[in-house]
């Protein structure tokens, strides 16, 4: 029982660490934006006012493409899971030591 709780505690910490690393990695891959999640991305295109006559100037066309871009919530969620896993593992280690003590007595 003691060993099981200790293994479970260690596994919880490792799982939390994996979540933190994964969330940080994915967030970094999405550009490490400090903004919030976005489900569409703005793309601005320069369209000539008159085709084949760029000397007359351009008009900016805004196009929204449906695409999920992760924001700051992702690493925050990862960090929160990590904290919860640390707290859970502390409880598990505390319980295991308590059980071990009882067994010795």
């Amino acid at each position: 029982m003691v060993l099981f709780l200790q293994i479970l505690g260690s596994a919880t910490v490792l799982l939390g660490l994996a979540c933190l690393s994964a969330s940080a990695f994915i967030w970094h891959k999405h550009g490490a934006r400090t903004g919030l999640w976005e489900t569409s991305v703005q793309t601005t295109r320069e369209i000539p006012i008159v085709e084949e006559m760029p000397e007359l100037g351009f008009q900016q066309q805004v196009v929204w493409e449906e695409k999920l871009v992760l924001g700051i919530e992702t690493p925050i969620a990862g960090a929160m899971i990590f904290i919860v896993s640390i707290l859970t593992s502390l409880v598990l280690f505390y319980l295991s030591s308590k059980i071990a003590k009882k067994m010795v007595e």
Partner: protein, 201 residues
């Protein structure tokens, strides 16, 4: 008699030339848009609106007499974050159901400067957002392109391009006045980029 006919012909011709041309800003190519930007602590909020319509009467010989109205369908306002978009469309912010249109009624152009094919001026008019109307002046750049509508829309006629960048304040239009300033700035930077068509038919 010959002189009289010539004078009549010229005056009629000049009279016709002086008539303002009506430009429709409903763009079949769907390029016309308004881009807006607001400062926020994490990241600036960028969005756009493409529901542009309205008409402007422009006289190439007398740009100061330019008049018209540019309308924006407030439900066409879009930002990348869906929750934020819901907030912007919601009753506390733009209330798009109750106030479906944002308008700028241009009454005249002042301080006109011509530079090449462009006319730079200060557009004096009335901006209406959430049923609150405020008189304001916005710097404007107008490009009149005679006979070039055909190359853009495959219809004979003229083109009028209007570009402008200006700032409106949330406070002025009662958009959560004095509230949430730590989350969203009071100033909204607006960039207008529209082309109007005047088919000659």
């Amino acid at each position: 008699m010959r002189n009289f006919i010539l004078t009549l012909f010229l005056s009629t011709g000049l009279g016709l030339a002086a008539k303002p041309i009506k430009f429709d800003f409903k763009d079949p190519k769907n390029v016309n848009n308004v881009i807006f930007q607001m400062d926020a602590p994490l990241e600036s909020i960028n969005g756009s609106g493409d529901g542009i319509s309205g008409t402007v009467h422009f006289d190439p010989n007398d740009p100061s007499s330019t008049q018209g109205t540019i309308l924006l369908d407030s439900a066409s306002l879009h930002v990348g974050n869906p929750v934020l978009k819901e907030h912007i469309h919601g009753s506390d912010w733009m209330n798009v159901k109750k106030y479906p249109t944002i308008s700028f009624k241009l009454s005249k152009l002042e301080n006109i400067r011509k530079k090449g094919i462009d006319v730079f001026a200060d557009a004096k008019g009335k901006m209406t957002i959430r049923n609150v109307t405020i008189e304001m002046i916005a710097p404007i750049r107008i490009t009149y392109l005679k006979g070039l509508l055909e190359k853009r829309n495959r219809v004979a006629g003229d083109l009028l391009v209007i570009r402008s960048k200006f700032i409106v304040k949330r406070d002025d239009f009662g958009i959560r006045a004095g509230e949430k300033l730590e989350k969203v700035a009071n100033q909204i930077e607006i960039s207008l980029n529209v082309a109007g068509a005047a088919p000659s038919n």
